[in-house]
Protein backbone atom coordinates (compact mmCIF):
# COMPACT_ATOMS: atom_id res chain seq x y z
CA UNK A 1 0.00 0.00 0.00
CA UNK A 2 2.85 2.40 0.62
CA UNK A 3 6.44 2.86 -0.43
CA UNK A 4 9.32 5.01 0.63
CA UNK A 5 11.34 6.11 -2.35
CA UNK A 6 15.12 6.35 -2.70
CA UNK A 7 17.47 8.52 -0.72
CA UNK A 8 18.79 10.84 -3.43
CA UNK A 9 15.34 12.38 -3.66
CA UNK A 10 13.53 13.89 -0.72
CA UNK A 11 12.00 11.04 1.27
CA UNK A 12 8.47 10.42 0.05
CA UNK A 13 5.67 8.33 1.44
CA UNK A 14 2.89 7.55 -0.93
CA UNK A 15 -0.26 5.69 -0.09
CA UNK A 16 -3.58 4.93 -1.60
CA UNK A 17 -6.51 5.68 0.65
CA UNK A 18 -9.68 3.77 -0.16
CA UNK A 19 -12.83 5.87 -0.28
CA UNK A 20 -13.81 5.01 3.27
CA UNK A 21 -13.82 7.50 6.14
CA UNK A 22 -12.94 4.72 8.59
CA UNK A 23 -9.55 4.31 6.92
CA UNK A 24 -8.51 7.95 7.26
CA UNK A 25 -7.06 7.50 10.73
CA UNK A 26 -4.71 4.68 9.63
CA UNK A 27 -3.51 6.64 6.62
CA UNK A 28 -2.84 9.71 8.74
CA UNK A 29 -1.05 7.53 11.27
CA UNK A 30 1.25 6.19 8.53
CA UNK A 31 2.11 9.71 7.40
CA UNK A 32 2.67 10.71 11.04
CA UNK A 33 5.10 7.86 11.55
CA UNK A 34 6.94 8.69 8.32
CA UNK A 35 7.32 12.36 9.27
CA UNK A 36 8.39 11.43 12.77
CA UNK A 37 11.15 9.24 11.33
CA UNK A 38 12.36 12.25 9.35
CA UNK A 39 12.82 14.19 12.57
CA UNK A 40 9.73 16.42 12.62
CA UNK A 41 8.80 17.71 16.03
CA UNK A 42 5.59 17.05 17.91
CA UNK A 43 3.99 20.40 17.15
CA UNK A 44 4.47 20.03 13.41
CA UNK A 45 3.22 16.44 13.55
CA UNK A 46 0.04 17.41 15.37
CA UNK A 47 -0.66 20.15 12.83
CA UNK A 48 0.00 17.85 9.87
CA UNK A 49 -2.18 15.11 11.36
CA UNK A 50 -5.21 17.32 11.70
CA UNK A 51 -4.80 19.11 8.36
CA UNK A 52 -4.43 15.76 6.62
CA UNK A 53 -7.50 14.33 8.36
CA UNK A 54 -9.57 17.29 7.18
CA UNK A 55 -8.22 17.10 3.63
CA UNK A 56 -8.82 13.34 3.38
CA UNK A 57 -12.32 13.63 4.84
CA UNK A 58 -13.22 16.19 2.19
CA UNK A 59 -11.75 14.11 -0.62
CA UNK A 60 -13.77 11.09 0.50
CA UNK A 61 -17.01 12.86 1.39
CA UNK A 62 -17.32 14.50 -2.01
CA UNK A 63 -16.04 11.56 -4.06
CA UNK A 64 -18.40 10.71 -6.92
CA UNK A 65 -17.97 6.95 -6.51
CA UNK A 66 -16.82 4.74 -3.68
CA UNK A 67 -14.30 2.82 -5.78
CA UNK A 68 -12.06 5.77 -6.68
CA UNK A 69 -9.32 6.02 -4.09
CA UNK A 70 -7.57 9.12 -2.84
CA UNK A 71 -3.82 9.42 -3.26
CA UNK A 72 -1.97 10.73 -0.21
CA UNK A 73 1.67 11.75 -0.43
CA UNK A 74 4.00 13.06 2.23
CA UNK A 75 7.26 14.60 1.04
CA UNK A 76 9.89 15.62 3.54
CA UNK A 77 12.23 18.26 2.17
CA UNK A 78 15.18 19.69 4.02
CA UNK A 79 13.10 22.12 6.03
CA UNK A 80 9.72 21.81 4.42
CA UNK A 81 7.02 19.20 4.62
CA UNK A 82 4.67 18.85 1.72
CA UNK A 83 1.45 16.87 1.86
CA UNK A 84 -0.40 16.19 -1.37
CA UNK A 85 -3.92 14.88 -1.52
CA UNK A 86 -5.19 13.93 -4.96
CA UNK A 87 -8.94 13.59 -5.13
CA UNK A 88 -11.36 12.69 -7.90
CA UNK A 89 -14.24 14.90 -6.84
CA UNK A 90 -15.75 17.56 -9.09
CA UNK A 91 -13.55 19.94 -7.09
CA UNK A 92 -14.49 23.26 -5.59
CA UNK A 93 -13.35 26.84 -5.62
CA UNK A 94 -10.82 27.30 -2.83
CA UNK A 95 -12.11 30.39 -1.01
CA UNK A 96 -9.94 33.50 -0.99
CA UNK A 97 -10.74 34.29 2.61
CA UNK A 98 -11.60 31.49 4.96
CA UNK A 99 -13.30 32.45 8.16
CA UNK A 100 -14.77 30.48 11.00
CA UNK A 101 -18.48 29.83 10.63
CA UNK A 102 -21.03 30.88 13.22
CA UNK A 103 -20.33 29.02 16.50
CA UNK A 104 -23.73 27.32 16.20
CA UNK A 105 -22.88 25.91 12.79
CA UNK A 106 -22.31 22.16 12.70
CA UNK A 107 -19.97 22.23 9.71
CA UNK A 108 -17.61 24.46 7.78
CA UNK A 109 -14.48 24.36 9.93
CA UNK A 110 -12.36 21.95 7.88
CA UNK A 111 -10.78 24.40 5.43
CA UNK A 112 -10.26 26.91 8.20
CA UNK A 113 -8.29 24.34 10.16
CA UNK A 114 -6.20 23.36 7.13
CA UNK A 115 -5.37 26.97 6.41
CA UNK A 116 -4.58 27.78 10.02
CA UNK A 117 -2.43 24.73 10.64
CA UNK A 118 -0.41 24.85 7.42
CA UNK A 119 1.90 27.57 6.12
CA UNK A 120 0.30 27.38 2.75
CA UNK A 121 -2.41 25.50 0.93
CA UNK A 122 -2.86 25.37 -2.84
CA UNK A 123 -5.70 23.56 -4.54
CA UNK A 124 -5.06 22.74 -8.18
CA UNK A 125 -8.15 21.76 -10.12
CA UNK A 126 -8.46 19.87 -13.30
CA UNK A 127 -11.14 17.81 -14.98
CA UNK A 128 -11.80 14.75 -12.86
CA UNK A 129 -8.72 15.15 -10.69
CA UNK A 130 -7.63 17.77 -8.21
CA UNK A 131 -4.56 18.10 -6.06
CA UNK A 132 -4.40 19.83 -2.72
CA UNK A 133 -0.80 20.75 -1.89
CA UNK A 134 -0.15 21.64 1.75
CA UNK A 135 3.15 22.94 2.97
CA UNK A 136 4.55 23.38 6.42
CA UNK A 137 8.04 24.51 7.24
CA UNK A 138 9.77 22.23 9.66
CA UNK A 139 12.91 23.93 10.89
CA UNK A 140 13.39 21.33 13.55
CA UNK A 141 14.00 18.66 10.93
CA UNK A 142 16.70 20.82 9.40
CA UNK A 143 18.21 21.47 12.83
CA UNK A 144 18.34 17.79 13.61
CA UNK A 145 20.20 17.20 10.40
CA UNK A 146 22.62 20.05 10.99
CA UNK A 147 23.74 18.49 14.25
CA UNK A 148 25.63 15.93 12.21
CA UNK A 149 28.98 17.54 11.38
CA UNK A 150 29.41 17.88 7.64
CA UNK A 151 32.57 16.35 6.19
CA UNK A 152 34.14 17.85 3.13
CA UNK A 153 33.70 14.96 0.77
CA UNK A 154 30.22 13.74 1.73
CA UNK A 155 27.94 12.74 -1.11
CA UNK A 156 25.68 15.60 0.00
CA UNK A 157 28.45 18.12 -0.55
CA UNK A 158 29.20 16.65 -3.92
CA UNK A 159 25.53 16.89 -4.82
CA UNK A 160 25.51 20.45 -3.59
CA UNK A 161 28.39 21.30 -5.90
CA UNK A 162 26.67 19.80 -8.91
CA UNK A 163 23.46 21.59 -8.06
CA UNK A 164 25.25 24.90 -7.61
CA UNK A 165 27.00 24.46 -10.95
CA UNK A 166 23.69 23.70 -12.63
CA UNK A 167 22.10 26.69 -11.05
CA UNK A 168 24.95 28.95 -12.07
CA UNK A 169 24.40 27.80 -15.62
CA UNK A 170 20.84 29.05 -15.39
CA UNK A 171 21.75 32.58 -14.44
CA UNK A 172 21.05 35.06 -17.18
CA UNK A 173 24.04 37.33 -17.67
CA UNK A 174 22.42 39.96 -19.78
CA UNK A 175 18.79 40.35 -20.61
CA UNK A 176 17.97 41.10 -24.23
CA UNK A 177 16.74 44.52 -25.23
CA UNK A 178 13.20 45.06 -26.33
CA UNK A 179 12.24 48.41 -27.91
CA UNK A 180 10.02 50.49 -25.64
CA UNK A 181 10.53 48.27 -22.59
CA UNK A 182 13.10 47.71 -19.89
CA UNK A 183 13.76 44.45 -18.14
CA UNK A 184 15.51 43.45 -14.92
CA UNK A 185 15.64 40.12 -13.12
CA UNK A 186 16.46 39.08 -9.56
CA UNK A 187 17.08 35.67 -8.08
CA UNK A 188 18.41 34.49 -4.77
CA UNK A 189 18.16 30.99 -3.47
CA UNK A 190 17.80 29.62 0.00
CA UNK A 191 20.58 27.19 1.06
CA UNK A 192 22.54 27.88 -2.14
CA UNK A 193 20.54 25.63 -4.42
CA UNK A 194 16.99 25.99 -5.50
CA UNK A 195 14.69 25.37 -8.37
CA UNK A 196 13.71 28.93 -9.27
CA UNK A 197 14.79 30.59 -12.47
CA UNK A 198 13.84 33.25 -14.93
CA UNK A 199 14.72 33.56 -18.56
CA UNK A 200 14.11 35.99 -21.40
CA UNK A 201 14.93 35.58 -25.05
CA UNK A 202 14.26 37.51 -28.18
CA UNK A 203 11.74 36.00 -30.55
CA UNK A 204 12.03 38.73 -33.17
CA UNK A 205 13.38 42.29 -33.27
CA UNK A 206 10.38 43.56 -31.37
CA UNK A 207 9.17 40.59 -29.35
CA UNK A 208 10.47 38.40 -26.54
CA UNK A 209 9.39 35.57 -24.30
CA UNK A 210 9.58 36.09 -20.55
CA UNK A 211 9.74 32.97 -18.40
CA UNK A 212 9.63 32.46 -14.67
CA UNK A 213 9.48 29.05 -13.01
CA UNK A 214 9.64 27.37 -9.64
CA UNK A 215 10.57 23.70 -9.40
CA UNK A 216 9.25 22.15 -6.20
CA UNK A 217 12.03 21.20 -3.82
CA UNK A 218 15.72 21.89 -3.68
CA UNK A 219 19.00 20.23 -4.52
CA UNK A 220 20.37 18.56 -7.61
CA UNK A 221 17.06 17.30 -8.88
CA UNK A 222 15.35 20.69 -8.63
CA UNK A 223 18.28 22.39 -10.36
CA UNK A 224 18.34 19.69 -13.00
CA UNK A 225 14.65 20.05 -13.78
CA UNK A 226 15.07 23.82 -13.95
CA UNK A 227 17.85 23.32 -16.53
CA UNK A 228 15.78 20.82 -18.50
CA UNK A 229 12.72 23.05 -18.51
CA UNK A 230 14.74 26.01 -19.72
CA UNK A 231 16.29 23.97 -22.51
CA UNK A 232 12.99 22.42 -23.60
CA UNK A 233 11.25 25.81 -23.63
CA UNK A 234 14.00 27.21 -25.84
CA UNK A 235 13.90 24.21 -28.14
CA UNK A 236 10.34 24.80 -29.35
CA UNK A 237 10.62 28.08 -31.26
CA UNK A 238 7.47 27.33 -33.27
CA UNK A 239 5.37 27.71 -30.12
CA UNK A 240 7.03 30.75 -28.55
CA UNK A 241 4.27 33.08 -29.69
CA UNK A 242 1.66 30.78 -28.13
CA UNK A 243 2.59 30.40 -24.47
CA UNK A 244 -0.42 28.22 -23.58
CA UNK A 245 0.40 25.73 -26.34
CA UNK A 246 4.06 25.85 -25.34
CA UNK A 247 3.19 24.96 -21.74
CA UNK A 248 0.93 22.10 -22.87
CA UNK A 249 3.71 20.71 -25.06
CA UNK A 250 6.38 21.04 -22.39
CA UNK A 251 4.11 19.45 -19.80
CA UNK A 252 3.46 16.56 -22.12
CA UNK A 253 7.18 16.09 -22.75
CA UNK A 254 8.27 16.34 -19.11
CA UNK A 255 5.32 14.70 -17.38
CA UNK A 256 6.87 11.23 -17.16
CA UNK A 257 10.14 12.46 -15.71
CA UNK A 258 8.54 14.90 -13.31
CA UNK A 259 5.93 12.57 -11.92
CA UNK A 260 8.48 9.76 -11.65
CA UNK A 261 10.65 12.01 -9.52
CA UNK A 262 7.76 13.30 -7.38
CA UNK A 263 8.30 16.83 -8.63
CA UNK A 264 6.18 19.49 -10.20
CA UNK A 265 6.95 22.89 -11.61
CA UNK A 266 4.93 26.06 -11.57
CA UNK A 267 5.74 28.38 -14.45
CA UNK A 268 4.52 31.49 -16.15
CA UNK A 269 5.22 32.63 -19.67
CA UNK A 270 4.61 36.06 -21.18
CA UNK A 271 5.12 36.64 -24.88
CA UNK A 272 5.68 40.40 -25.16
CA UNK A 273 5.37 42.40 -28.38
CA UNK A 274 6.53 45.98 -28.74
CA UNK A 275 4.22 46.78 -31.64
CA UNK A 276 1.37 46.63 -30.95
CA UNK A 277 2.24 46.87 -27.27
CA UNK A 278 0.75 43.78 -25.73
CA UNK A 279 1.56 40.45 -24.17
CA UNK A 280 0.09 36.97 -24.10
CA UNK A 281 0.31 35.31 -20.71
CA UNK A 282 -0.09 31.64 -19.77
CA UNK A 283 0.44 30.02 -16.41
CA UNK A 284 1.09 26.54 -15.08
CA UNK A 285 -0.23 26.89 -11.54
CA UNK A 286 2.07 29.83 -10.95
CA UNK A 287 1.27 32.83 -8.76
CA UNK A 288 -0.40 35.70 -10.65
CA UNK A 289 1.48 38.13 -12.81
CA UNK A 290 0.98 41.68 -11.55
CA UNK A 291 0.54 44.59 -13.91
CA UNK A 292 0.35 48.20 -12.75
CA UNK A 293 -0.88 51.16 -14.75
CA UNK A 294 -0.94 54.39 -12.81
CA UNK A 295 -1.94 53.29 -9.33
CA UNK A 296 -4.12 50.43 -10.54
CA UNK A 297 -2.69 46.96 -10.12
CA UNK A 298 -4.30 43.90 -11.55
CA UNK A 299 -3.60 40.18 -11.38
CA UNK A 300 -3.23 38.16 -14.53
CA UNK A 301 -3.71 34.52 -13.74
CA UNK A 302 -4.87 32.34 -16.63
CA UNK A 303 -5.91 28.85 -15.58
CA UNK A 304 -3.48 25.95 -15.74
CA UNK A 305 -2.14 23.15 -13.56
CA UNK A 306 1.53 22.98 -12.59
CA UNK A 307 3.72 20.96 -14.96
CA UNK A 308 4.05 17.33 -13.95
CA UNK A 309 0.66 16.93 -12.26
CA UNK A 310 -1.40 15.60 -15.18
CA UNK A 311 -0.14 14.32 -18.55
CA UNK A 312 -2.62 16.21 -20.71
CA UNK A 313 -3.20 19.48 -18.91
CA UNK A 314 -4.84 22.26 -20.89
CA UNK A 315 -3.69 25.85 -20.40
CA UNK A 316 -5.57 29.09 -20.88
CA UNK A 317 -3.96 32.31 -22.04
CA UNK A 318 -4.79 35.96 -21.63
CA UNK A 319 -3.92 38.88 -23.86
CA UNK A 320 -2.99 42.07 -22.02
CA UNK A 321 -2.55 45.48 -23.66
CA UNK A 322 0.54 47.27 -22.38
CA UNK A 323 0.19 51.02 -21.95
CA UNK A 324 3.11 53.43 -21.70
CA UNK A 325 4.57 53.54 -18.17
CA UNK A 326 3.13 50.16 -17.24
CA UNK A 327 4.98 48.02 -14.71
CA UNK A 328 4.85 44.25 -14.97
CA UNK A 329 6.04 41.86 -12.27
CA UNK A 330 6.50 38.12 -12.63
CA UNK A 331 7.57 36.48 -9.38
CA UNK A 332 7.81 33.22 -7.47
CA UNK A 333 5.92 32.56 -4.26
CA UNK A 334 9.12 32.89 -2.25
CA UNK A 335 8.37 36.63 -2.33
CA UNK A 336 4.84 36.50 -1.01
CA UNK A 337 5.66 33.67 1.40
CA UNK A 338 8.65 35.56 2.85
CA UNK A 339 8.40 35.80 6.63
CA UNK A 340 9.51 38.52 8.98
CA UNK A 341 10.84 37.92 12.51
CA UNK A 342 7.29 37.63 13.88
CA UNK A 343 6.25 34.98 11.39
CA UNK A 344 4.14 37.37 9.32
CA UNK A 345 3.98 36.74 5.56
CA UNK A 346 5.00 39.41 3.06
CA UNK A 347 1.85 38.56 1.10
CA UNK A 348 0.54 39.51 -2.29
CA UNK A 349 -1.35 42.55 -1.02
CA UNK A 350 1.86 44.16 0.17
CA UNK A 351 3.52 43.37 -3.14
CA UNK A 352 0.61 44.86 -5.12
CA UNK A 353 0.53 47.94 -2.92
CA UNK A 354 4.24 48.45 -3.50
CA UNK A 355 3.87 48.08 -7.27
CA UNK A 356 0.94 50.53 -7.28
CA UNK A 357 2.98 53.25 -5.65
CA UNK A 358 6.35 53.08 -7.41
CA UNK A 359 7.96 54.89 -10.32
CA UNK A 360 11.19 54.21 -12.11
CA UNK A 361 12.76 51.96 -14.65
CA UNK A 362 12.98 48.19 -14.28
CA UNK A 363 16.48 48.28 -12.82
CA UNK A 364 15.57 50.84 -10.17
CA UNK A 365 12.40 48.97 -9.25
CA UNK A 366 14.31 45.71 -9.02
CA UNK A 367 16.76 47.31 -6.59
CA UNK A 368 13.94 48.78 -4.55
CA UNK A 369 12.01 45.52 -4.29
CA UNK A 370 15.11 43.50 -3.45
CA UNK A 371 15.86 45.99 -0.66
CA UNK A 372 12.27 45.87 0.60
CA UNK A 373 12.42 42.09 0.82
CA UNK A 374 15.78 42.17 2.57
CA UNK A 375 14.43 44.66 5.13
CA UNK A 376 11.31 42.61 5.70
CA UNK A 377 13.13 39.37 6.42
CA UNK A 378 16.32 40.74 7.96
CA UNK A 379 15.80 38.87 11.21
CA UNK A 380 15.52 35.40 9.74
CA UNK A 381 17.30 33.33 7.15
CA UNK A 382 15.76 32.81 3.75
CA UNK A 383 13.48 29.77 3.72
CA UNK A 384 12.61 29.66 0.03
CA UNK A 385 14.05 30.88 -3.24
CA UNK A 386 13.02 34.36 -4.28
CA UNK A 387 12.97 35.25 -7.94
CA UNK A 388 11.31 37.98 -9.92
CA UNK A 389 11.35 39.59 -13.32
CA UNK A 390 10.44 43.24 -13.65
CA UNK A 391 9.42 44.89 -16.89
CA UNK A 392 8.64 48.57 -17.31
CA UNK A 393 7.42 50.25 -20.43
Amino acid sequence: MSEILGASRPPVLRLVLPCDLKQVRDAVQSVHQFLEEQGCDEQVLTACDLALVEACNNAIKYAPAADVPVLVEGICGEDLIELRITDHTPGFEWPKHIELPDPESESGRGLYLIQTLMDNANYFRSRGENVLVLRKSCLSAARNKKETPALLATPENHDQEIASALQQSLLVNKLPELPGFELAGFSQSAHNVGGDFYDVWKVSDDSALLVIADVMGKGVLAAMFAAILRAVLRSLPGLTRHPAALLARVNHLLFGQLSGAERFITAQLAFVEASPRRMVVASAGHCPLLIAEGQQVRNVSPEGMPLGILPDSVFASEVVELSRHCRVLLYTDGLTEALDGDGERYGQERLSAWLAGVNGNAKELKGELAQKLADFQRKISLNDDQTFLMMTG
Binding site: L21, K22, V24, R25, T46, D49, L50, V53, E54, N57, I60, K61, L100, P103, E104, S105, E106, S107, G108, R109, G110, Y112, L113, T116, L117
Partner: protein, 100 residues
Protein backbone atom coordinates in the same frame (compact mmCIF):
# COMPACT_ATOMS: atom_id res chain seq x y z
CA UNK B 1 -18.73 4.45 23.85
CA UNK B 2 -20.55 4.39 27.18
CA UNK B 3 -23.76 6.25 27.96
CA UNK B 4 -24.90 6.77 31.55
CA UNK B 5 -27.80 8.64 32.99
CA UNK B 6 -27.14 10.61 36.14
CA UNK B 7 -30.11 12.69 37.26
CA UNK B 8 -30.48 15.60 34.88
CA UNK B 9 -27.19 14.79 33.13
CA UNK B 10 -26.35 12.37 30.36
CA UNK B 11 -22.75 11.22 30.72
CA UNK B 12 -20.89 9.93 27.68
CA UNK B 13 -17.47 8.34 28.01
CA UNK B 14 -15.05 5.80 26.48
CA UNK B 15 -15.04 7.57 23.12
CA UNK B 16 -12.07 6.50 21.00
CA UNK B 17 -12.35 9.33 18.53
CA UNK B 18 -14.80 11.87 17.21
CA UNK B 19 -14.16 11.90 13.51
CA UNK B 20 -15.95 12.05 10.18
CA UNK B 21 -16.41 8.28 10.38
CA UNK B 22 -18.09 8.29 13.78
CA UNK B 23 -19.48 11.78 14.39
CA UNK B 24 -23.01 11.22 13.10
CA UNK B 25 -23.61 7.97 14.94
CA UNK B 26 -22.13 9.51 18.09
CA UNK B 27 -24.54 12.45 17.82
CA UNK B 28 -27.56 10.25 17.06
CA UNK B 29 -26.85 7.77 19.85
CA UNK B 30 -26.37 10.58 22.32
CA UNK B 31 -29.62 12.22 21.31
CA UNK B 32 -31.48 8.93 21.61
CA UNK B 33 -30.13 8.41 25.12
CA UNK B 34 -30.94 11.98 26.16
CA UNK B 35 -34.25 11.22 27.82
CA UNK B 36 -36.96 13.61 28.93
CA UNK B 37 -36.11 15.39 32.13
CA UNK B 38 -32.41 15.59 31.32
CA UNK B 39 -30.89 18.91 30.37
CA UNK B 40 -27.10 18.58 30.55
CA UNK B 41 -24.69 16.52 28.49
CA UNK B 42 -21.25 15.65 29.79
CA UNK B 43 -18.73 14.26 27.31
CA UNK B 44 -15.66 12.66 28.85
CA UNK B 45 -12.89 13.14 26.30
CA UNK B 46 -10.09 11.66 28.39
CA UNK B 47 -9.93 8.56 26.18
CA UNK B 48 -10.54 10.40 22.93
CA UNK B 49 -7.39 10.36 20.82
CA UNK B 50 -8.59 12.70 18.10
CA UNK B 51 -11.36 15.09 17.14
CA UNK B 52 -11.78 16.57 13.67
CA UNK B 53 -14.12 19.22 12.30
CA UNK B 54 -16.93 16.68 11.90
CA UNK B 55 -16.48 15.65 15.54
CA UNK B 56 -16.69 19.31 16.47
CA UNK B 57 -19.90 19.54 14.44
CA UNK B 58 -21.40 16.71 16.49
CA UNK B 59 -20.41 18.47 19.72
CA UNK B 60 -22.03 21.67 18.46
CA UNK B 61 -25.19 19.69 17.70
CA UNK B 62 -25.26 18.29 21.25
CA UNK B 63 -24.53 21.74 22.64
CA UNK B 64 -27.65 23.00 20.85
CA UNK B 65 -29.68 20.01 22.04
CA UNK B 66 -28.72 20.70 25.66
CA UNK B 67 -29.26 24.46 25.29
CA UNK B 68 -32.76 23.88 23.96
CA UNK B 69 -33.59 22.30 27.33
CA UNK B 70 -31.88 25.05 29.27
CA UNK B 71 -28.83 22.87 29.97
CA UNK B 72 -25.16 22.88 28.98
CA UNK B 73 -22.64 20.69 27.18
CA UNK B 74 -19.62 19.96 29.32
CA UNK B 75 -16.37 18.50 28.01
CA UNK B 76 -14.07 16.67 30.41
CA UNK B 77 -10.30 16.33 30.11
CA UNK B 78 -9.54 16.77 26.42
CA UNK B 79 -5.99 15.74 25.48
CA UNK B 80 -3.64 18.51 24.22
CA UNK B 81 -4.35 17.82 20.53
CA UNK B 82 -8.10 17.97 21.13
CA UNK B 83 -7.71 21.09 23.26
CA UNK B 84 -5.79 22.63 20.34
CA UNK B 85 -8.57 22.08 17.83
CA UNK B 86 -11.08 23.50 20.33
CA UNK B 87 -8.96 26.60 20.70
CA UNK B 88 -8.15 27.00 16.98
CA UNK B 89 -11.85 27.00 16.17
CA UNK B 90 -12.60 29.09 19.28
CA UNK B 91 -15.09 26.49 20.45
CA UNK B 92 -13.42 26.56 23.89
CA UNK B 93 -15.39 29.75 24.43
CA UNK B 94 -18.68 28.04 23.61
CA UNK B 95 -18.32 24.74 25.45
CA UNK B 96 -17.71 24.35 29.14
CA UNK B 97 -14.38 22.53 29.47
CA UNK B 98 -13.41 20.92 32.76
CA UNK B 99 -9.95 19.56 33.45
CA UNK B 100 -8.49 17.57 36.28
Amino acid sequence: MKLQTDGDTLRISAIKELSAASANSFRDEARRAFVDGQSNIEVDLSQTAAVDSCGLGALVALHKTASSRGGVLRLLNPNPAVQQILELTRMHRIFEIIKG
